[in-house]
Symmetry: C2
Subunit: 384 residues, 2 copies
């Protein structure tokens, strides 16, 4: 049905009406006192969301641009880095590091499985001469729905003492508790079209004091992505280059909503939606691609065996106007992915499960108990 779209992909995520309307305001000059106030408010609220008293900078860029900035500002050609790779995004940060001539050591895990913190500990413990300058990991691997054990890997990095930890939190920030200051995370990148509940186009990166220390001697070339320029401007409630004014109006509205909900409630909601989704899929005999113990709270990947994943996806889309994501690369046709981050509620989860039930029945999958998925999800909700 026209105009009836329901977005349940890992990004863009649904955008609240208040945010859409805020974005439709006429822009004002970005070098005015009025806009400085907007930047000051955004910066304060971003620090709250990042649980940090350090710097959180805004860039006009996608998540990839932000992660590239997070890497190239703190390293020099030939520096040794460890990169965790258990999915499409981990793989990408390895490519970025190689494109800049870093000495890249990839620590792999199978897609669908988490990175092994022990593998990081081993490499970091071996490194007596402290040659490893950074560890780059993806927290929530969007391609598989796996949440890597950031806390444990970070502990290994802290024991090493020298290396920075650079985190892709693109789909986890705002969906999972990441206490940046408490854990001492050096660089954390994220993007607007995820937990932030605003459309794509804005990226965010938090930077620790230790990372700024590394910045002083880092020699990789950069200009537009030079975070020092962003810090200098942000300290003056300004921006180094023309910022995306209307997206920032949207961000203003969304961060105000997030503050009203509160961090603990936001994280609990994502946890609850994840458990509801998983219970629903289980009740429908749809195998979950990632195990419970490392399930992302942003996205759930489902690997149906009795029916093609793309058929489910396409029926959900055609019959119910619900967009879920397909598998990427070698997982194409093998999984579908339900996004439940940002502006997502219990109602959305009941809806998508109900639609999946109906889809399975429509596709003639045998053994589906009508109502079982929704009932299981509702039960989790009531308990949780």
């Amino acid at each position: 049905m026209e105009n009836k779209n329901m977005l349940m992909i890992p990004g863009p995520t649904p955008v609240p009406e208040a945010v859409l309307l805020a974005m439709a305001k006429a822009p004002i000059g970005h070098r005015t006192g009025a806009f400085s106030k907007v930047i000051a408010e955004l910066t304060e609220n971003l620090k709250w969301l990042h649980q940090t008293s350090g710097d959180v900078l805004m860039l006009t860029a996608s998540g990839t641009g932000v992660m590239e900035a997070g890497i190239i500002n703190f390293l020099s050609p030939g520096d040794r880095v460890l990169v965790g790779d258990n999915g499409k995004f981990g793989e990408r940060w390895g490519k970025v590091a190689k494109a800049y001539g870093l000495n890249v050591d990839i620590i792999k895990a199978e897609w669908g499985k988490p990175l092994d913190p022990e593998a990081f500990t081993a490499k970091l413990t071996e490194d007596k001469e402290k040659a490893i300058k950074a560890v780059i990991i993806t927290h929530s691997e969007t391609s598989t729905g796996v949440l890597n054990d950031l806390e444990s890997i970070n502990k290994a990095v802290k024991d090493h003492g020298e290396a920075l930890i650079i985190v892709d939190a693109v789909t986890s920030l705002g969906a999972y508790n990441i206490p940046i200051d408490e854990w001492g995370l050096d660089v954390v990148g994220s993007g607007s079209q995820k937990g932030y509940m605003i459309p794509p186009g804005l990226g965010f990166v938090s930077v620790s004091k230790k990372a700024w220390k590394a910045y002083e001697t880092a020699k990789l070339p950069r200009f537009y992505l030079d975070l020092g320029k962003y810090k200098k401007a942000t300290d003056e409630d300004s921006s180094p280059f023309t910022p995306p004014v209307n997206l920032m109006y949207g961000l203003q509205a969304s961060l105000q909503m997030m503050r009203r909900e509160g961090l603990a409630a936001i994280f609990a909601r994502h946890q609850r939606l994840t458990q509801m989704t998983r219970a629903g899929m289980r009740a429908l005999d749809l195998p979950l691609y990632a195990a419970d113990s490392w399930a992302s709270t942003a996205i759930t990947a489902v690997a149906p065996t009795l029916v093609d994943a793309e058929k489910i996806r396409s029926t959900l889309n055609k019959k119910f106007d619900i967009a879920v994501a397909g598998g990427q690369d070698h997982l194409k046709g093998k999984i579908f992915r339900i996004g439940h981050l940002g502006f997502a509620s219990e109602r959305d989860i009941l809806t998508v499960i109900a639609a999946i039930e109906a889809t399975l029945i429509e596709l003639g999958v045998e053994g589906v108990t009508p109502g079982a998925g929704v009932a299981a999800a509702a039960s989790v909700m009531v308990q949780g």
Copy 2:
């Protein structure tokens, strides 16, 4: 008065209601057939606007990001480049080139004066061994309101034969005729918040076949700004990274408006607004910072002698809610700049001139003939 803002700065420029409302639509997935159609339409209309059958690529970036991409994709460390510098932006491209270890030869002109094409011809003619790999110039220098003689400089580059011409057309594209294919311009960068009539956040770069040839051997590091990735995706009506969906909805609406107006009419309008503005300022004895023969059609810089430029600017803002820009760097307090590009009409020019007249009277400037500015502008309009 609250909410009564009138934007007459060189960017962000005013945004039509149709564009603002288009941006307030709920985003859809960027990897869908429906969004591919949007990208295909945008690409076709961007080629029309750029007067090229070559590639026009869209990046989530400010104008600076786009120009950096335009430079680093086609060059290798140590390559010799000529950079024209007669204002803040020309100066910036020199800094970008240096940040990437290029061998940079700056050709300067005084602020307020255009670059001398002869200076380029001399350097390029001397270069028998064809060591110069690119000439980087700013077409409309936003900081001074000077339009550089792109056509003549480009002829010198074409006579050289080897060097690429890389053009910052951020405030000239859509405000002045730039026939990219006819002139053989290799790389032309521009930004959304200018002639495009949409808010900041999207950048554009056109790339010639000759530039793609250079790309094949260019060795400067890049990933997010790697234009090869954008070309590959654009050829499939897609994007390499999550694109700013809502800004692209806005662009869809604005390009449709531009096609209805027509290129010749758009350029004639900008020409007319420029002449009206200049006639108005002259009639009020307000000196123009750039001479007629090199006046930008995007912005007019005014250098008042009898009263502080910032006083005029501040009164325009406080009394009439009209935002004009101040001077940058050493021109701070010495000039104010009236933007008349994008969604600007004759009515806006009459309005700002009337407000400037009233401001001069309010500030007690002697010798102002009430109505003279508006009359002069109206007369130009009627003739023009």
